[in-house]
């Protein structure tokens, strides 16, 4: 995700939709708009045409910090062997009908 050049009058935004109250906002795609209000409208027009999202977030792409490919080795690989971090040894009590992950 590169920063916009000085001559670009529209900014790139990432769009996140929340399907149900309480659900996380999930990434739906990106749009271009000059400012936050138009970004919100464009996101609604482009990504909320079908279905009934509860809420829409728009974030300037340049405001998102991401991990890079070179980070992967030190950030994520060591975690693979740390199975003690998972809740695999708990016994689910008899009375619990449904356990949501």
């Amino acid at each position: 995700m590169t920063a916009p050049t000085k001559n670009e009058s529209t900014v790139l935004w990432e769009v996140f939709l929340q399907e149900r109250s309480g659900s996380p906002h999930t990434h739906a795609g990106s749009i271009r708009a000059a400012d936050a209000e138009m970004a919100l409208q464009n996101a609604r027009d482009v990504y909320a045409r079908r279905g009934l999202p509860e809420s829409v977030w728009v974030v300037r792409t340049t405001d998102i910090t991401t991990s890079s490919a070179t980070d992967r080795e030190s950030f994520f690989e060591p975690v693979k062997d740390k199975t003690f971090r998972h809740t695999r040894d708990y016994v689910v009590p008899r009375d619990i009908e449904r356990l949501e992950r």
């Binding site: 529209t10 749009i31 271009r32 708009a33 000059a34 400012d35 209000e37 138009m38 409208q41 464009n42 027009d45 482009v46 045409r49």
Partner: protein, 251 residues
């Protein structure tokens, strides 16, 4: 259903139909992809609104046939849309300003239909008001950005205003039909919407740093009687050609 009320509703349905047809002309041609989708979405909303109104009038026994018949099979003098709706798109500023004027009028008209006696009309109005609230937000915010934008966007907006403002008086003149509808079914008189409309225009124009326009008192009401500008005939020939060439065609 009261006949005068039905005619006022047909006017609104035709406003939506013609407005939708004009907006659909932008499909594939808008200045940016997001606006292409926005304008065509609004066009679809408008066709849906026309269909809802036509279907209601048919179920109340006012018209025969289907909503498609009302949309495609009438001749020019049978359409009762305001002359504003049939004006050509021009550039983006022209389309946006035309849309903003119509949205401001329709928003206040629909908001005031709550006081009517007929529940079916109130429920249709409530549904259409939700969509119209969004349309008004979209066109209003664009007027702000075009007015308070570059020198070019500002001058295009001012030119659009010069060409379109003369179609505003027609929206607020009380003729025999609306007077009867008001007396018999409590339809809001067009003239009572003027001050709310003016306030909406002034708020957006203020933010757009444009000179707030004066409301004119006189104007032609002929669109409401089926007498249109030279543009409607051409619009209708394009809109109706498929159905006229292949009557009864199905997709």
């Amino acid at each position: 259903m009261n006949r005068s009320a039905a005619e006022v509703l047909l006017r609104l349905g035709d406003d939506y139909l013609i407005n939708g047809q004009r907006l659909s002309e932008w499909c594939g041609h808008a200045p940016m992809l997001e606006e292409d989708i926005a304008l065509t979405n609004i066009a679809l909303d408008s066709f849906g609104a026309a269909q809802l109104i036509y279907t209601m009038l048919i179920s109340e026994g006012i018209h025969k046939g289907s909503a498609d018949d009302l949309a495609f099979a009438r001749s020019e003098r049978e359409y009762l849309n305001c002359q504003l709706a049939e004006q050509p798109n021009g550039d983006f500023a022209h389309t946006i300003l035309r849309q903003f004027i119509f949205d401001a009028f329709a928003f206040h008209f629909l908001s005031n239909l709550k006081q009517m006696n007929e529940p079916i009309v109130r429920s249709v109005a409530a549904k259409l008001l939700k969509e119209k609230t969004y349309h008004l937000r979209h066109s209003g915010e664009w007027v702000v950005r075009l007015g308070d934008g570059t020198d070019e966007s500002r001058s295009r907006t001012e030119n659009a205003f010069k060409s379109l403002w003369r179609f505003v008086p027609e929206l607020f003149v009380d003729d025999d039909i609306i007077l009867a509808a008001n007396k018999e079914t409590n339809f809001p008189l067009y003239s009572t919407l003027k001050s709310e409309f003016q306030e909406t225009i002034a708020t957006i124009y203020g933010r757009a740093k444009l000179e707030i326009p004066m409301m004119k008192n006189s104007g032609r009401t002929t669109g409401r009687r089926g007498i249109h500008t030279e543009y409607l005939g051409h619009l209708l020939s394009e809109m109706q050609i498929l159905r006229r060439s292949y009557p009864g065609a199905a997709w």
